[in-house]
Symmetry: C2
Subunit: 235 residues, 2 copies
Amino acid sequence: MSFPQTTSPSRAPGTVTDAIAGGTLTTIVRCLSGSSLDLVERGKTIFLPGDPAERVYLLRRGAVRLSRVYESGEEITVALLRENSLFGVLSLLTGHRSDRFYHAVAFTRVEMISAPAASVRQAIEADARVGLMMLQGLSCRVLQTETMIETLTHRDMSSRLVSFLLVLCRDFGVPAEQGITIDLRLSHQAIAEAIGSTRVTITRLLGDLRNEGMLRIDRKKITIFDPVALSRRFS
Amino acid sequence: MSFPQTTSPSRAPGTVTDAIAGGTLTTIVRCLSGSSLDLVERGKTIFLPGDPAERVYLLRRGAVRLSRVYESGEEITVALLRENSLFGVLSLLTGHRSDRFYHAVAFTRVEMISAPAASVRQAIEADARVGLMMLQGLSCRVLQTETMIETLTHRDMSSRLVSFLLVLCRDFGVPAEQGITIDLRLSHQAIAEAIGSTRVTITRLLGDLRNEGMLRIDRKKITIFDPVALSRRFS
DNA sequence: CAAAAATCAGCAGCCAGCCAGACAGAAGTT
DNA sequence: AACTTCTGTCTGGCTGGCTGCTGATTTTTG
């Protein structure tokens, strides 16, 4: 499976070092040989389970959903990646050819950069600072994922939902007139798939929170009036 | 908070490159200036929330439990790390001094190597292959953590427990006369804290699985007779 | 641009699964 | 031997999953 590649001639590896002066992973990855800048529309697939894992991705703008699909047709969300997340790291693992096992879908319109795992390895060997930056990027991923585990071990669904909303505020929140708006178009179903619940339950709990005056939902975008007050609503 | 340091004079950074010939992260980290080899007894704390995050750890032998403790006294497990896991990566993040927010405890007798984050950074800059190896180590961590998220999004506790047992088989399983034994002394309480359930429920479900002839428990060590058969027991 | 199709939100009733709390006996520790 | 920790079981009660239905909203398509 592949996706539309909107751009990108490869450049000489020498320029990598120049890019480091810029200091961001973006500029660096952008200079790798074989790299490309890709635009993906909301809902489009980036990779499918079973695809060969050979590229590493850096999400520049938008959100990507990593999910697992079961034979039953059920689908669960493993991660909602935010801007500047590295993904597809499976391909960095030792030589043996491996396949994706997650489904990666653009959750919003997405702008991302990708490069073959081999060039990434080369770039790291050429200039260690690249490795250091990627290491920091991945460390962030680990911390984010662990926060999500915390969210998921809450026993009652209400706490779980609240905890998840706070995670979303952190990762996708933008200031609003009153409070913080989660800049994603989230259906109740999508939330359910991320926190291991059902659509009906999420509808009910969000309704409760709305009646309590904790949040507002307008065209699938959730605005939390006061995250601190919300966080006190844990069990 | 600190822990007993059993060994370790620091060495000249020059030897790092030699160690890379050996090829393992262990030998490399072992050569970093300020590194130490530590032995920690089962149940002893490695770091506490609030401790300054300044070292990176590589778990050589045994298991480490990362957990979060709430004011309520409740405790949840964020990760059960297995051999060759990197942890304490928070300290690698950008300069600003940060503190641990997890509680790290030796879940078994543990043998681990640690080094100051600064020396790790230096080593990476000195030889990029170090960065590459650490990157692979962290990639593994990400994948492991994501598997755990999958486990936790199962709606019924039975599936969740089964999924968790399979994860433990993968990470801590050793072949037994019949089946695979999870080489950890797990109390029902510990399992409950890892999958967001309660002790009583775990007791009941494990009892069911035992009655079905799926597993055996002997002095807190669980033996799964047939992991494949068990995996079919999902909802 | 309007009609058709698909997806989404909200509501209700039923019932299983799981939690809370309590207690007794077993196993393991000092 | 005293003590702690762990396992097993029970009762009652409530949460949250499941099913089915309706109207609203969004997207697709002719």
